[in-house]
Symmetry: C2
Subunit: 779 residues, 2 copies
């Protein structure tokens, strides 16, 4: 666990250099603006352990699949987020010695990520190997308001020594992915152009032929005076550099301002892209550093105004929840339906493709509550755009008639994963995609999306379920064989309860939506049915058959649903019986042993309880929670948040707090010892859910929003805002009182605990601790 | 299916060149002598499709594992048979044009593999692009008697044209494996040396540091006169060449005799290896071509004397059975317990490692019956040698106390495979290794091996089974979860009947052997128990518990054993309902669809009936066969032979014939369309079993050997020889009579059908066709 970062409500702070954590720090201090992002690497050369990572949203490379043993149906390639333009790097040399924190002596060091402003900065005093002493102060950010811009201000102060200072500022597209199946470089056909203090580089991705370009303009000042130096120019394939040399002595202060504009053919015409980048960066130069910084800070201020959560009495949680929100908005801003939320965002290469079911199951609620409904709608449109590929994917696996299986991992709609037990069998993802449509509609009330796009997706998914089950003669029930549930520590099982349940729900929901459209706009339905060749009578009848006769494994004696057939025949043990030195299991046990054990990676049956809690009573939840949670090792970052929310429902606040903190500080404390690979971006939305749905108790039911606030012992108060059907609400509470304020929009009914209040301005309700006094309106 | 090769009892013959089948022909025409082998490539340059393959027994490279997704417990590397010294290649040029059948016009072509003599030869008339006409006649073999020697005689006759003929004879160790995970070359540190007409090359394998070397001596004659030419010499890293140029004209006949000695540090001291090869090849030169050829032919004649099978009335079957026997003896001769039988032998790179359970389950019976017991014993010793690695492998997977899991694929005892569902779960292989000990002992009566080596292996395997099961509370039985049976079209199933059955058998057999040793040599047992830390009382008691309470799935109503839990809940269909254009399934269906289907790759429950037929009555066999065989797609080369034998037991002779021919001509007719990768060497032993155990009805029971001859419609007679406890027997029969002859050894009781006869010379018994008259001794 990391303890080297200072706890602060708004900042991550590294006081004193910790090279042993550099890879982790780089991940945590990552920057992004939805369009591009980068790890928090040093600007100047660093020969210690580092992972240079710069990523452009939506730009990917289809890396040819490389597996030990090919299985029929595997995708030909795995689309990967690409390491792209290294735009913020410099080379600084003093008297011929290249400045490098791995070589120099660090006399003082301070680095911070200011989440309020979205700015990464660093100050350090160095003694070079040659004896010279310099100080560095850098500040950089990915512009939130002008999402093509990356800005760096880099100050060098000479403290001891004199001689030639060389400053080489470059743009490098000749970069390689660490994760490349065939050790290829993914960029080709580089072009460069230089002119005065500006330079531009561009290149194409192999195969996909995305073009990316970056232009930079550099300004150098000495002791406050802007220098008009003619730079040395280096132009190579996919690389441009502007170099400056000046004679300096102790006391001199040199500031390099580097402004970079970068983008891709997702946003600009291919042939004009380099010129456009030149124009953008020139516009930036004219705006000037201060104005740019202010626009950036203002943007973040507005974002925080909407999305911030204030936790009283628990700095560690406060820092963590802001870090989670900050990273989510650095990763995805929702202005482009071709983009999605990669599990590592812009913080690392791992997991390659960008889109998992995490988006629908975890991220969607966050964006629904903290941004315009357009943002969540983009996420749904993303899947709708990719429906043809999902249908093609299902066809490849032997399904027909417009059935769709959305991929487990994707960039462009095509499946990218290649473990048969996941790729072909972890099909519950289809259910989450359907559920997200339902979630969106009940949250926003936007039926327009449902008719115009959603229903098409729902029908394709339902058609998949209808073919994926089969009739079991011995059971006299429809069953579903060969699946992997959310608990990936079981593979290829029969009758995973969660998958069956969400499949059944999906069939009934799709049917209901069809009936609704039919009654409201029969012509539109006829047109859609015709377009989809939907045989209404036979298909709906078949679905109903399946709904009526679907097998759902349960154990009546224990009063629990069975994770899958035969789960109880496993050797039973509780997770706390596992010796500490064997945790996490996935690093210590062989795969077969994990599979044979009863231990559960993440919520599986309980994921169903989370999604469909209204279908069950508290006793059912308690029995299932008490059975499964103690068998759960939470080795997925997506596990603790769901358990935190359920624990809140069961008045197990301390357990909920423990779980919430585990997801909230997963990366900050490097709990799974893998933050070096990047941050767990999608599970960060789970933190938000654990706070707002867990302790805030937010629920949408019967077209009403409501809250059931509770506080863990460590907290004295909680304050958050949510959007809800055109309104903006603030919920603030401490152990005395809940204050619900309508910040914006028309009056509305709001539930607090079990009571419904009419909220037009502000309502105050007495806080009810579990087993405490019952609530009452006081306003 | 191939129809381009002529059917002949002793030869494979290609009449007219079929470049479209060249890769298949290369596999089929492979040569080997147990120590090295090679694909039947052309000697001179061929720029058409070809796979150069030369392999040295026991020389392997640990290729670093490359998988899409790492699973805990995977081995770090996959030991691969290496492409080694290309010793038989030449470059021939006429007037500067390199002779190449892909460029030249083939005016006539004949190629044959003479299995009787073990010689590959070719005659062809070519018209070169430059208009010259030449004829080539080549003859080569891997010497069976002197297993370091490869011999080539290559004749060129000028038919039209005159000018310079260049003959370049080389040894090339600068070769690469097609199958290399990281595109590396596996040979390094080459050394060369040349002297007169001889040259030697050597190199080391990376990591494993095997050294291999080859020396050649060339002799050139023109029109019968040996030439004393000083060759041009080319020496490169890992490559030596002797080149000759001579002026020729129409009518000239040039013969190159190339003798090569090659071996590795498995057989020679590392530093002396190149010099030894020089010595060996010089000895060969002194022996001369004719004497060498005669020794080679004599060796094969003796082999055929022992191992031949004569089938009357069915040339296609006759050719096939000889091809199978021939390839088996080219691959493995049983003089070294470090060697084993690779699934492709020396005929291709595929499947990398050399040893699978095929050896124990399929090959052992063949070698037991056709060679000295020493040969089969070597195969058992091989596993005993590797017991420490098998124990280490089990430990890696979480087992303790001396439990052993033998690898699925191996060269040196370490696991080389990396599909979790196979590597970790296809554990029935452990059972086959135990069964082979039993099979060997009952066949040879060699209890000495049992006490000195076998029991140690048995105990380690039994310990594995005892830990691999667990107690199921709901079942009140021991169960075994997460296994893959012989039918690899089901993965990660619970309670595979075959695996459970062989595990239970293994526990009882080991117990019986312990009791036997204890009563016969209590001191030896105490010593062994002490050495193995065997807690006799507790371990045997635990085993007995498991034996008594082991769950064995069956369906009483259908009267069948269940392949695994839930098999009957699958959608049931018969294999003949699969459209022809979807066969084989493994090329047309996605993996999950195959897994979910009821279709069976190869004998699974029926493999148990094959091994343990005495445990069941014919009705049980019939019910299980009639249930499972129609659901079996026989997409493993190991499937048809087992079914052929069982079909014989059920009087289904025509089905048995169909199955037998499917395995017998699998490669000759390229039935699975994969012979280009190499021949299915291990399944060839299955062909022998199908003939001798199926139609010959050979069984060993109660220390007696017996036969129950039958003939498929296509055959008029069958004749085979078997060794049996120091005797050599010939069994010959037609539709009238069975003649059992004792060729060698003391008189013995022999069963024929149900009667036991005392055989001292010859016995004749009336042939009994199914439902025909009962037999009687006539002699």
């Amino acid at each position: 666990m990391n303890t080297y970062l200072t706890i602060d409500p708004w900042k991550l702070m590294e006081q004193g250099f910790h090279p042993e954590h550099q890879m982790v720090t780089e991940s945590l201090f990552s920057l992004g603006n939805g369009r591009f992002g980068q790890r928090g690497c040093f600007e100047e050369t660093y020969t210690g352990k580092t992972l240079q990572g710069n990523y452009l949203a939506g730009v990917y490379y289809p890396d040819k699949t490389r597996v030990g043993w090919w299985k029929n149906g595997y995708p030909e390639y795995f689309a990967k987020v690409l390491n792209a333009i290294d735009w913020s790097s410099l080379r600084i040399s003093m008297e011929g010695e290249e400045v490098d924190l791995h070589q120099a002596t660090c006399e003082s060091f301070y680095r911070e990520l200011d989440m309020k402003r979205g700015v990464l900065s660093r100050q350090c005093d160095l003694k070079l190997v040659n004896g010279d002493r310099i100080s560095i102060a850098s500040e950089r950010y990915c512009h939130a308001e002008y999402p093509d811009l990356g800005i760096l201000r880099y100050q060098i102060r000479i403290r001891e020594g004199k001689g030639t200072l060389a400053v080489q500022s470059y743009l490098d597209l000749d970069v390689q992915n660490q994760d490349a199946n065939w050790e290829e470089k993914f960029w080709e056909d580089g072009q460069t152009q230089m002119d005065g203090q500006t330079a531009v580089v561009s290149a194409y991705t192999r195969k996909t032929r995305f073009r990316a370009a970056a232009a930079m303009v550099n300004q150098l000042s000495l002791n406050g005076t802007i220098l008009d130096l003619d730079p040395f120019r280096v132009q190579r394939d996919k690389y441009v550099e502007l170099g400056y040399e000046l004679d300096v002595e102790a006391g001199d202060e040199i500031i390099l301002t580097k402004m970079v504009s970068m983008s891709s053919t997702l946003y600009y015409d291919e042939t004009r892209l380099p010129a456009e980048m030149m124009t953008r960066v020139e516009e930036a130069r004219l705006k000037g550093y201060s104005a740019l910084l202010k626009a950036h800070e203002d943007h973040w201020a507005r974002k925080w105004q909407e999305a911030d959560i204030v936790i009283d009495g628990d700095l560690s949680a406060q820092q963590a929840i802001r870090f989670n929100i900050f990273q989510l908005y650095q990763t995805y801003t929702g202005d482009d339906d071709r983009l999605n939320i990669g599990p590592k965002g812009f913080t690392g290469e791992k997991y390659g493709g960008s889109t998992y079911w995490d988006t629908e199951a975890y991220c969607l609620p966050f964006y629904l509550a903290t941004a315009s409904p357009q943002v969540a709608r983009q996420l749904l449109l993303y899947r709708h755009r990719q429906l043809p590929q999902a249908i093609a994917n299902a066809r490849k696996l032997g399904f027909s008639g417009g059935a769709a299986l959305f991929p487990m991992v994707t960039m462009n709609g095509e499946e990218c994963h290649n473990e048969w037990e996941i790729t072909f069998e972890e099909i519950h993802r289809n259910g989450a995609i359907a559920y997200a449509i339902h979630d969106y509609v009940r949250y926003t009330g936007d039926r327009d999306y449902l008719w115009s796009h959603g229903l098409e997706v729902l029908i394709a998914i339902s058609r998949f379920w209808a073919q994926r089950v089969h009739w079991s003669s011995p059971q006299q029930r429809y069953v579903m064989h060969g699946v992997t549930g959310p608990n990936e520590y079981e593979n290829n099982v029969n009758n995973n309860w969660y998958t069956l349940y969400i499949a059944r729900w999906c069939l009934t929901y799709t049917r209901d939506v069809i009936h609704e459209l039919k009654s409201q706009d029969p012509k539109a339905w006829l047109q859609l049915a015709d377009q989809l060749k939907f045989y209404e009578h036979t298909e709906l009848r078949q679905w109903q058959e399946i709904v009526d006769f679907l097998y759902l494994p349960e154990d009546k004696e224990l009063g629990i649903f069975l994770q899958q057939d035969g789960y109880l025949e496993k050797e039973q043990a509780l997770a706390d019986s596992i010796p500490a030195d064997q945790r996490p299991l996935n690093e210590h046990w062989s795969w077969d042993r994990i599979l044979r054990s009863c231990f559960i990676k993440q919520a599986d049956v309980l994921q169903g309880f989370y999604f469909f809690e209204e279908d069950f009573d508290l006793d059912q939840l308690r029995r299932n929670y008490q059975y499964y949670e103690p068998r759960t090792v939470h080795e997925s970052s997506l596990s603790p948040c769901v358990h935190a929310i359920l624990a809140c429902s069961l008045d197990e606040d301390e357990k909920a707090y423990e779980m919430m903190m585990r997801t909230a500080r997963l990366d900050l404390d490097n709990i799974n010892n893998d933050t070096k690979d990047g941050c767990h971006i999608t599970s960060m939305a789970g933190t938000w859910m654990a706070v707002v749905k867990g302790f805030g108790g937010m629920r949408v039911r019967d077209d009403q929003v409501g809250f059931s606030p509770r506080l863990p012992e460590a907290w004295s108060g909680l304050n958050f805002r949510v959007r809800w059907r055109g309104r903006s609400l603030e919920i603030a509470f401490d152990r005395q009182e809940i204050r619900m304020t309508l910040l914006e929009g028309a009056p509305l009914p709001v539930r607090c605990y079990e009571e419904v209040y009419s909220l037009s301005d502000e309502i105050r309700v007495r806080f009810r601790s579990p087993n405490g006094p019952s609530p009452g309106a006081e306003h």
